[in-house]
């Protein structure tokens, strides 16, 4: 069902890739425990956590194993009970080695203070500071993909005030349905999570933005929202990349976040629906971030499904549960089809920021031959930030980083719309990403 009326959206740029939401009707299944989990100590943006367990220790579910030191960092908890067999550097999905803790699963013993019952606990008894401390302790990070520590986002800079809270239920990426299923199945819990966020930020208004291709979620949440004053649900037009922070703010409030500024500068804070649910569990049930919902999808997979997965489960285990790896697989991608990264190997573990695993057949993954730019300006038209990707690519190749900075390369949100639309198959985003890191390096040196 599609309502054909003027829905809210942002104006500049954007594309509409084929949706392929194969799993939007399949309920979330709880995945059985694997034999061994590998928990990376750097699953978030910022300083990696420092291990606080040693080899041979027995740990319980929810026990702290990595202490996030510094302001921008997050705690890491054990997602299983068992014995620590190894603390070593192990490859993450890029293949580069990162510090990790390997735990062999024995039984399923939880920490005593975690409430395991699924009853809804509505009244918020803790004070603002206690809630913040709880979120920090539980190692909650933004579950939309960037994995930015949530407590940092909730502590507002001095002399700045949030007027509204925006909850991101857009899920504009093709294939992914984990947020969609969460909204349908854990809607009430999520609403309580939003109330908690509203209390911490001291705002009276929360807006949930959901794209119009999730009509059942919009109806369901509008229904529940009547019980929670201050929370409203807004259907949005289907457009990629609406799930990006700045585009969502523009769509819902009409305000534009200035270049290199944060959403709080225009008086809004954005959180993902999964983060709201994780915050509910952390504050009301004392449960740290030890599992999350992941979509395992792909046209060639036998059983594409949504799973509740413990952090640290090997990817191979998830794919086996979804019917095994098809023979003609070309790429396995972590995250969405547009912004995700291909896995280097299938032995790597699930991390907090992983929202989906996509299995793509070989003939779909091949890149076409790169041809010269024909100056059609399609990339300029689709860029949601109003940049000129055709210009940024040669500037990066030439190493003209001062000009790149002037062309606002740092505003790029790496949505990949330019590479998607380019008729000459130019790898625009690959180079823009490189240019961004180099410009960041220059700026850091200047300080």
């Amino acid at each position: 069902m599609r309502i054909n009326q003027a829905l809210k959206t942002y104006k500049r740029g954007g594309i509409h890739p084929a949706e392929y939401k194969l799993t939007d009707k399949s309920p979330v299944q709880i995945l059985p425990l694997p034999e061994q989990v590998t928990i990376l100590l750097s699953q978030h943006i910022g300083v990696p956590a420092i291990p606080v367990v040693s080899k041979g220790d027995t740990v319980k579910v929810g026990q702290l194993i990595g202490h996030g030191k510094g302001f921008v960092s997050a705690n890491i908890h054990s997602s299983v009970s068992g014995k620590v067999v190894k603390i070593d550097s192990l490859p993450d999905l890029t293949g580069y080695k990162k510090p990790a803790v390997v735990i062999e699963v024995e039984g399923d013993e939880w920490e005593e203070n975690i409430i395991q019952s699924t009853d809804l606990k509505e009244d918020i008894t803790l004070s603002e500071d206690e809630i913040l401390e709880k979120i920090r302790e539980s190692g909650i990070v933004g579950l939309g993909g960037a994995a930015f520590p949530s407590h940092v986002k909730l502590i507002l800079p001095k002399n700045k005030k949030a007027e509204a809270l925006i909850i991101n239920g857009v899920e504009c990426e093709p294939y992914l349905t984990s947020d969609h299923r969460l909204m349908l199945e854990y809607g009430e819990e999520m609403m309580v999570g939003i109330r908690i966020l509203m209390k911490v930020l001291n705002v009276r208004k929360a807006m949930i933005g959901i794209e119009n291709n999730k009509a059942d979620a919009i109806y369901h949440l509008t229904d529940i929202a009547s019980k929670f004053p201050g929370i409203e649900v807004y259907p949005l037009k289907v457009k990629y990349p609406q799930g990006s922070e700045k585009q969502l703010i523009k769509a819902l409030t009409g305000r534009e976040v200035p270049s290199l500024k944060l959403p709080v500068d225009v008086g809004v804070i954005v959180h993902n629906v999964s983060t709201a649910y994780a915050i509910y569990e952390a504050v009301q049930k004392n449960k740290p971030l030890i599992n999350r919902i992941i979509t395992v999808s792909g046209k060639s997979l036998k059983k594409p499904s949504n799973f509740v997965v413990r952090i640290g489960t090997p990817i191979q285990f998830l794919i086996e549960a979804a019917g095994g790896l098809p023979e003609n697989t070309g790429k396995v991608i972590s995250g969405g089809l547009m912004m995700g990264k291909a896995f280097n190997s299938l032995d790597v573990p699930v991390i907090k920021g992983m929202s989906g695993i996509l299995v793509l057949p070989e003939d779909e993954t091949k890149r076409k031959t790169i041809e010269p730019c024909i100056r059609c300006s399609k990339c300029v038209t689709v860029c949601p930030m109003g940049l000129e990707p055709y210009l940024l690519m040669p500037l990066t190749q030439d190493g003209n980083f001062y000009r790149l900075e002037k062309e606002m390369v740092l505003d790029c949100l790496e949505c990949g719309s330019c590479s998607y639309i380019c008729p000459a198959n130019r790898p625009l985003l690959d180079y823009i990403r490189l240019g961004k890191t180099d410009v960041n390096k220059i700026i850091r040196e200047r300080r």
């Binding site: 490859p91 999905l93 890029t94 293949g95 580069y96 080695k97 990264k341 291909a342 280097n344 190997s345 993954t365 091949k366 890149r367 790169i370 190749q397 790898p427 690959d430 180079y431 990403r433 490189l434 890191t437």
Partner: protein
């Protein structure tokens, strides 16, 4: 006739006035420049490669003239000869600097390093390195995508498609250091240029433990310290499971090369080593040839 005369006179008078104005302005805004800068610039190789650390030869010439000593200034392309000429022009003294040459410290060819996945993104080492570990499991090895080849102004480096590794042409290399900067994995090193361009170096920069390193590359340095023990000149430094041969200390004795269990130490431009049996054979054959010669003489 008169109209032609008037035109010529009018135009030439405009010309004279304009010339006077230009002359006056040129005098007013004259930039005083040390004329010796031009001489120094002429002595430089005019490659504008940036190997000296300055944007071009002109800037380097200015720096030479303006600085008190030439100790920190060195033109890698011109080498010691050019620096001596510059020093003569300026009446300063040039520091003795050994000529250098670029060396590729990776032997992970297609044969030695099995490919574990396939990369089809943008053909640039910098992009691939920022994205992931590469098409082998080695996190520090060569990505064989021509970043160093493209950046070389002297065509001194080419990609060997059979091995998938870049090769430096020693005669053409000027040690400007452009490839060193371009390599995202810091594989390329500038080492002292020896007689006949001979070179002995550890062709690996992997810091993993031996067991792990040999899993993804058969010619990785495993940090066994065998070469370190055999070296008499203290040229080998050990650390982080890796050996490094200091090119300034190395006496090119080749004693470390056969010691290496994984063939990670490379020798370039050397004659093949003569084994004992070779020597005996040769002496025997020499004797025979001498005999033959003697026979012919008789």
């Amino acid at each position: 006739m008169s109209s032609i005369l008037i035109t010529i006179l009018f135009l030439s008078s405009i010309g004279i006035v304009a010339a006077i104005i230009l002359y006056l302005f040129a005098q007013k805004f004259k930039v005083l420049e040390n004329p010796i800068i031009y001489d120094v610039e002429d002595a430089l190789p005019a490659a504008n490669c940036g190997g000296c650390g300055y944007p071009g030869c002109r800037n380097f010439a200015e720096a030479c003239v303006n600085s008190d000593s030439l100790d920190d200034l060195y033109c890698p392309v011109g080498g010691q000869e050019t620096m001596d000429i510059v020093a003569n022009l300026l009446g300063k003294e040039a520091k003795q600097t050994d000529p250098r040459v670029a060396v590729i410290r990776c032997s992970g060819s297609f044969k030695n390093r099995p490919r574990t996945n396939h990369y089809d993104g943008a053909s640039s080492c910098a992009v691939a390195s920022a994205l992931y570990v590469g098409d082998t499991d080695c996190p520090v090895g060569c990505l064989n995508m021509d970043d160093c080849v493209e950046v070389c102004e002297f065509e001194a480096i080419y990609m060997n498609r059979k091995t998938g590794l870049p090769v430096v042409i020693d005669e053409k290399c000027t040690a400007c250091g452009a490839c060193v900067k371009a390599c995202p994995r810091d594989i390329i090193e500038l080492r002292k240029r020896n007689k006949k361009d001979r070179q002995i170096f550890v062709s690996c920069i992997n810091k993993e433990k031996g067991g792990i390193a040999t899993k993804y590359c058969s010619v990785a340095c495993i940090g066994c310290t065998k070469c370190f023990k055999v070296c008499e000149f203290e040229a080998i430094i050990m650390g982080n499971n890796l050996a490094f041969i200091d090119s300034d200390m190395c006496a090119l004795c080749r004693r470390c090369v056969p010691e290496c269990p994984t063939d990670a130490i490379l020798e370039i431009n050397f004659q093949p080593v003569r084994t004992k049996t070779d020597k005996e054979n040769k002496t025997a054959s020499d004797k025979i040839s001498e005999k033959v010669k003697a026979d012919i003489k008789e």
